[in-house]
């Protein structure tokens, strides 16, 4: 325990050194207003013997109070219209609150969150899951057991360590809630990210322990890197759960701003590619199963190449082609999608 206390003191000293710095002053506008934001999207997926249409609407309400409070909530309604060869169309609508939380900005380095929130595990769930943010419409395999919602409390924030390093963190506890709109599992976990501004590199680690049923752990590692020389982003994530499986994805996106040809079209375009693999758990752990998670029944890998084009800064169209390699039969996956991101003031705030 002494060495952990020593580590705590070390972090404390580093933070104190960073805080001691000072710099130029700026003046900020006053008065944030309540905002209705979010996106509307329509996606289609075509693969061998199956076509799927997925309309989605995801409104987010943001209501700031004073300088330290924010109430935020996202409702997601997603339709799934599926057609299998020689069968009639089947459809269902999934709806639920992605989050409904109260944030208290306790100080520059700590935010307290209470209510229902996106589980802070990896980078996809919290940052990339909205359809208008993610590069490719199809979510990676491992997000099936990473992406979840929690009901409880969370402590989070970021601590700058000078200009060299920013540490961001989130620790949470979630209670078990059995509700189709707001369900969650009893669990506790954390994510700690280390962002190196000069290198534009963030490396994060995540841990989550389920505190009911099988009491299993999930571990994760993630990274985001942006080139400072070219408009290139690289993101990657690995996650492992003993009873569900493990896997990783690596994704690159290149903004075509510097293209020497077709400039009006290319400056609004982005090329994307992703490779991912999923490994089923060993036989001795397989009894737990993956429940209703949409995970492959066997080891699988998938590669995607996509293209996004912004019709306007808030309207994005995208297209992708992928191929999945799996025991049940290799097949192609095509997707086409359109998203519109909106942000309206609920009162005032036109200017």
């Amino acid at each position: 325990m002494i060495k952990y206390f020593g580590f705590s003191v070390f972090v404390l000293l580093l933070a104190s050194a960073a805080i001691a710095q000072d710099g130029p002053q700026y003046k900020q506008p006053e008065g944030g207003v309540p905002v209705l934001t979010g996106f509307v999207g329509f996606g289609t997926t075509f693969q061998s013997g199956q076509q799927q249409l997925s309309p989605t609407i995801s409104p987010i309400v943001l209501v700031p109070f004073g300088e330290k409070w924010l109430v935020e909530s996202e409702l997601e309604v997603e339709g799934n219209y599926t057609h299998m060869t020689n069968q009639p169309w089947d459809h269902s609508w999934d709806k639920g609150f992605e989050y409904a939380q109260i944030d208290y900005l306790a100080n520059r380095y700590v935010t307290l969150v209470g209510g229902r929130f996106l589980t802070p595990f990896g980078i996809f769930n919290e940052r990339l899951h909205p359809g208008w943010v993610r590069n490719l419409q199809t979510a990676p395999y491992i997000t099936a057991f990473e992406m979840s919602d929690s009901n409880g409390g969370m402590l989070r924030g970021a601590i700058p360590m000078g200009s060299f390093l920013n540490i961001n963190y989130a620790g949470f506890f979630s209670a078990a809630v059995d509700n189709s709109w707001e369900g969650s599992t009893r669990a506790a976990g954390e994510r700690v990210g280390f962002f190196f501004p000069a290198a534009r590199l963030e490396v994060g680690t995540s841990f989550q322990r389920q505190l009911q049923d099988q009491h299993v752990n999930t571990f994760g590692v993630d990274a985001i890197w942006q080139s400072s020389r070219m408009p290139l982003d690289v993101r990657a994530e690995y996650a492992r759960n003993a009873t569900v499986g493990s896997g990783y994805w690596v994704e690159g996106a290149y903004r075509m701003r510097k293209s020497p040809f077709w400039k009006p079209f290319m400056r609004r375009s982005q090329a994307e590619v992703r490779f991912e693999q999923f490994f089923t758990p060993s036989a001795r752990n397989r009894d737990g199963g993956s429940g209703d998670m949409e995970l492959p029944d066997s080891n699988a890998k998938r590669v995607f190449a996509g293209w996004s084009y912004w019709i306007r800064p808030d309207v994005r169209s995208n297209f992708s082609y992928g191929r999945e390699f799996i025991d049940s039969g290799d097949h192609n996956v095509w997707t086409v999608g359109l998203t519109y991101r909106f942000a309206f003031p609920l009162m005032g705030g036109r200017k």
Partner: protein, 110 residues
């Protein structure tokens, strides 16, 4: 398992310690800012605006590039007051530091 739990507890303890010290330092820093700004000649509206500190060599442009574009390929522009609310939302969502959030707000509203 106990060792792992100890690591997590120690990390949380360390972060809480940092937060407490940071809060103290932040309060003392802001009082100094107020006194330093008394001599400035600005409009009444601007005088009400909150002053913030940025680290040396830290530009609003860099703050935007380093944080927003990590996830967003495109950030549609909206009005200043809506932007302020959205930046607060993103400060929580993406664990952006307070200084960076202020710098990003400056970048997006100027």
């Amino acid at each position: 398992m106990k060792g792992r739990i100890s690591v997590v507890i120690s990390l949380i303890l360390a972060l809480v310690l940092v937060a407490l010290v940071a809060a103290q330092t932040s309060n003392s820093g802001s009082s100094g800012t107020t006194s330093a700004s008394q001599g400035s000649t600005t409009s009444q509206k601007t005088e009400k605006a909150k002053k913030v500190h940025l680290p040396p060599n830290f530009s609003a442009d860099e703050a935007y590039k380093q944080n927003c574009t990590r996830c967003h390929a495109e950030v549609p522009p909206v009005s200043a007051r809506r932007t302020k609310t959205i930046v607060r939302h993103m400060r929580v969502r993406a664990n952006v530091t307070a200084d960076e959030a202020q710098a990003i707000l400056q970048y997006l509203t100027q």
